[in-house]
Subunit: 224 residues, 2 copies
DNA sequence: GGGGTTAATATTGTTAACAATAATTTTATA
DNA sequence: TATAAAATTATTGTTAACAATATTAACCCC
């Protein structure tokens, strides 16, 4: 198992709270679990810390990050700024083919909702946002957006009981594509903004209490 | 000399082109130069790569990044989006005290220009932008802006002969503060946008040719 | 039993030697 | 002399042992 694989697995476990905020990420334990050397785990942890999914305390190791409410709000605000710029740019140059491509993603997403495959619905929802960024063509902003999206589930789950009903709403995604089709970037970004607000407004003051998890929780690939 | 010190020094050398794009950063050479272990240099290089100031090729080491013209343009575009959001937010809540604080920075900057201390003028110009971000209070965006600012000199110098005449213009900084004082975030961000365009428009197609530098160039702390 | 000190263990951090790969030089041969 | 193969050197990548620190457990005294 490669370094990237290990990173992805731990990242995913952090993102969907199988490894809750505050969990200590012990090097030897993880190394043994994944069947890799400690050095590999160390590199992975460095990268996790860099992406703010984890926090490092000198001589005390790294733990899963416990983002504050402020960080959550800042993240949403930054996301709004970036997605606005993306949509305004994209509205001036989007092609019919791209519109169709977006609608295809939304159709699939809709299917998942109807068949209650929320796991895959989330993936498609994320894909919708990142594809928008990709189409706009600004790689710097795409990277920033990906970074934000990576961090969002952690900040949400830290201050929310459950995210399952706080997903992106399909009809808003539809409305964004409609606005883009009409070349109205202003409107698209306005919808996006309130779209994000739906999630943002649910953020509560108090973080959830955490119980110490068994590391083997990583094995469970299904969040619930 | 600590890891952070070494990072800062190499970073600064990359930023002001004493270590031009494409320069190979050899581990033992750097370790010997700074009087640290190779492991320390390795960590520093990892961080440099992460911030996109350097590029890593497996088994071939890391070299100073050679950003493309597109990356330069993307960076400016992203910066525009972020600073716009910062200014719009700040305009609604800036205090008189903060206005004075900003003006003080600009006065100092003006002094430096008049005494031809362009080295320090750059520092103050950067400070102006980062203080704006800090005042707006969004830490995520502040981090992104810092990241962009860190990368900007490299992309500019790669596609420009010299940056010394392409600095931020003081009167535009003044106008931004004026707009903020009037609570007009819209106008402030518009000025900021054209402010950035002045620099952006000078970006050329062809990257400069590079000659292999002596590593001891790092010793020269003064760019010229 | 509680508070605090010391010892034992666990965990992170560092290092130097080794392995693997790439770059360079040398040598052989046409 | 030019080319290609081989040998040498330089450079990056990995590992396991060691050191330093923090955490836990044991112990003692009151």
């Amino acid at each position: 198992m490669s370094e990237d694989d290990v990173l992805r697995m731990i990242e995913q476990a952090v993102i969907d709270h199988r490894l809750p905020p505050g969990t200590k990420l012990k090097e030897v334990e993880l190394a043994h679990f994944f069947g890799v050397k400690r050095g590999t785990i160390r590199k992975v942890l460095t990268r996790l810390v860099y992406s703010r999914l984890a926090v490092q305390q000198p001589n005390k190791g790294v733990t899963v990050a416990k983002p504050s409410v402020k960080e959550a709000l800042d993240l949403f605000s930054a996301r709004r700024a970036i997605e606005r710029s993306i949509l305004e740019s994209l509205a001036t140059k989007i092609t019919i083919k791209q519109i169709k491509q977006l609608r295809k993603i939304l159709d699939e997403e809709q299917c998942c909702y109807q068949s209650s495959d929320s796991q895959r619905a989330i993936v498609l929802s994320v894909k919708f946002h990142t594809v928008l960024a990709f189409m706009a063509g600004n790689e710097v902003m795409t990277e920033y957006l990906k970074d934000i999206i990576r961090r969002t589930p952690l900040v949400i789950l830290t201050h929310l009981g459950d995210m399952s009903q706080n997903l992106c709403r399909n009809q808003e995604h539809d409305a964004i594509v409609d606005a883009l089709e009409n070349g109205d970037g202003e409107k698209a970004s306005q919808i996006m903004s309130q779209h994000l607000s739906h999630i943002e407004n649910c953020i509560q003051e108090e973080p959830k209490s955490i119980k110490k998890p068994n590391l083997a929780a990583l094995l469970l690939k299904v969040p619930q």
